[in-house]
Amino acid sequence: MRTRSIFHADLDAFFVSVERVLDPRLCGRPVVVGGPADGRGVVAAASYEARAFGVCSAMPMAQAMRRCPGLLRVSGSHSMYGRASRAVFDVLGQYTPILEKVSIDEAYLDLTGTGLLFGGAIDVADRMRREVRERLRLDLTIGVSQNRLVSKVASAFAKPYGLFDVALGQEATFLAPLDVRALPGIGPVTAHRLKDWNIEKLGALADTASWFLRETFGDHGPALQSRARGEDDTPVCPPWERNESKSIGHEETFATDVDDHAFLRAKLSALLSKAARRLRKKGLLARKVSVKLRYADFVTETRDCTLREPSDLDGDFLDPMQELLHHMASRRTLVRLLGVRLTGLVRGFRQTSLFDAEQDFKTESRSAIVSAMDDIRDKYGASVVQSGEAAWLSNSR
């Protein structure tokens, strides 16, 4: 196989770094981005100063505040992060078009065969980091190796503001001393089971007899082992080869658990209107709708229903969804989260109906109304035009 050159680029404490660019007073102090401590705010990102106090992402804000006195909290603005992220990837995109963005602050790049053009991988990676730092004042860590898996581990290893190159053939040696948890794909459960067999380091996992892993973990076992040896040939998927999104959804965790059906119905309508608008933006139709409900005890229930014809109109989705919700919210437990999802996405054509023409409210006119509403929302904001239930919701707040 041809030697590849795969980079994993990861921005350090991304949200916090962006906030620091906007407000330099935050530099050098423990900072977190996230919702307020009253209610259900959680830490979305923490600076390295805050992490020293044991604050980490997804921690409830109240707990973070207790752990780290003097912690500064910023609410954060996602649109700003989106802009910063795009700016960073624009810089990286100058080096290679084969760039796969995996989240707002991470991407894989394939620089195979660019040696003559840009020079050695280390040099290119270092230039990328310097360029991002000089132009955007953001810190970037890059892991370099000949596959995605090892590069990802290398960048996590090199953080913050690091650069780590795993030479060809040294993948297994590099991984061997690391804890099994360092390998993407090994979560707490697998790690715990491995520990039961006294396998704590990746080196030990790589050396374990494969029949034993097959016995213990089934078909997943040998795959786990080859990953522990640093073997991976997943290609970096450039944007033009990426499949179109398979589903569009929104969900919301409520500030306080609720048992009010009217509230849930209204919330459903509001979430759906967001999702349907995104669906229309992409020019897609959805054939299937699903509703997700999580109770206060974390029991989660999902139900779906297939429509007769794909549609992109809120009205076509709402009735079946309300019906689903009606059948679901049956436990006598408070509800914590509600989500909607549109799947079975297809592009292009809508089956017209024979008997709509008789009705006053044709699909065409409904479509026109919805698209006019979308235009208004684009211009004046999403909450300017709402469904009755969603409006009731925002008024009652």
Binding site: L285, E309, D312, G344, F349, R350, T352, S353, L354, E358
Partner: protein, 378 residues
């Protein structure tokens, strides 16, 4: 009750009533078959309350009259599997129905039985009688089969909230009988003349399941005509020895006449088989979740194009009889193929006003099929 019967005739008779056996009976009798033996005939009956079937078998050697309700599924399966030429059914004194077939013997536990009297079984649902004297709707068997075949495939598989479109509409106006099937996206309508009609004009939506049963078994029955009777909320069909009853569906059927185009600017005459062959070809390159073919009509030429993103595209064309401007419309190929398959004539006619309006196919004498096109989303 005791009778000797030809096994194959008995098996065929049981198959005719089988469709009315309730698969998940709420009461045991609904999963049973009522067997009545009297003089020289045996009558089989089954009912699941939505649908009922009565079948009369003549020329049976009845040694002892009587009746019994036996587990339906089991009896059907037993008679299917035994190998003898004849079977004997005997009601024993312990209330068992014994089936003797050559060297094999099975006995079924009856749900209710009577060895002598003809008092009707109380627990079994009433299956209506075709009483003589009343005037029903009489159609030639061939016409009836054609009409159901032309409309049944169009009916909706799911319940519509506004209209009752799961069934086939039957309407009479004077001597003329009309059947209509639709699922809201396509519609087929066929007319025939009845041999005799009831005094009052009819307008009822027939349950698809009973139509399927009559279609399947009515063909083999003796007699050239089929009689229909409307008995309350039931409709009964009689061909030869077979009597099937189904519920009339309640609700409003859409006003179909309004949506059938009266004619069109563009009239194309085409050969049915070339049309379906080209359509099938193009439909190989459509996605399963949203199949689309683009039909473009040009002078003397019909072109069908399709594309499956990431797989490829197809174009198929064939000669048609058409003069006029070109027109292009998109359709679900399944709808078009269904119609062509049901067509009665080799030459079909296609009438179209504009690409966003329904297209009408004339698929035989008084047989029209309307399909709504697909519209492009912005």
């Amino acid at each position: 009750m005791k009778f000797l019967i030809d096994r194959l005739a008995f098996r065929d008779a049981l198959q005719r009533v089988e469709m009315a056996i309730d698969r998940k009976p709420t009461r045991p009798v609904l999963g049973g078959i009522l067997i009545e033996a009297n003089n020289d005939s045996v009558v089989l009956m089954a009912s699941d309350l939505d649908m009922a079937v009565r079948y009369r078998l003549g020329q049976v050697q009845v040694d002892q009259p009587g009746w019994a309700i036996v587990p339906g599924r089991e009896l059907v399966d037993i008679v299917k599997d035994v190998e003898s030429e004849t079977v004997t059914l005997t009601l024993t004194s312990k209330g068992l129905c014994q089936v003797d077939a050559g060297e094999d013997q099975c006995s079924l536990v009856t749900m209710e039985s009577s060895a002598q009297g003809f008092e009707t079984p109380e627990s079994f649902p009433t299956v209506p009688q075709f009483e003589d004297g009343e005037k029903g709707l009489v159609l030639s068997k061939t016409d009836f089969m054609l009409m159901v075949g032309a409309t049944r495939f169009c009916t909706s598989k799911v319940k519509d909230t506004r209209f009752v479109t799961e069934g086939v509409l039957l309407e009479t106006l004077g001597n003329q009988v009309t059947m209509v099937g639709t699922d809201g996206r396509r519609l087929s309508c066929i007319r025939r003349t009845a041999e005799s009609v009831p005094e009052k004009d009819l307008h009822s939506v027939l349950m698809p399941r009973v139509l399927d049963q009559v279609m399947r078994y009515g063909q083999d029955e003796e007699g050239e005509s089929l009689e229909m009777r409307f008995l309350g909320n039931l409709v009964g069909f009689r061909i030869g020895n077979l009597e099937s009853f189904g519920r009339v569906l309640e609700g409003e059927f859409p006003s179909y006449e309004a949506v059938i185009p009266k004619g069109g600017k563009h009239v194309v005459r085409a050969h049915r088989d070339s049309f379906s062959q080209k359509l099938r070809l193009a439909s190989h390159l459509t996605s399963d979740s949203a199949a689309v073919v683009k039909v473009s009509i040009k002078p003397n030429m019909l072109e069908i194009a399709s594309e499956h993103e990431g797989r490829g595209r197809a174009t198929a064309s064939f000669e048609v009889d058409y003069v006029g401007d070109g027109i292009l419309a998109s359709f679900n190929p399944v709808f078009l193929l269904d119609g062509l398959k049901a067509s009665h004539s080799e030459q079909i006619e296609l009438q179209m006003e504009e690409s966003s309006r329904p297209v009408k196919f004339v698929l035989g004498d008084d047989f029209e099929y309307v399909v709504m096109p697909l519209s492009m989303t912005s």
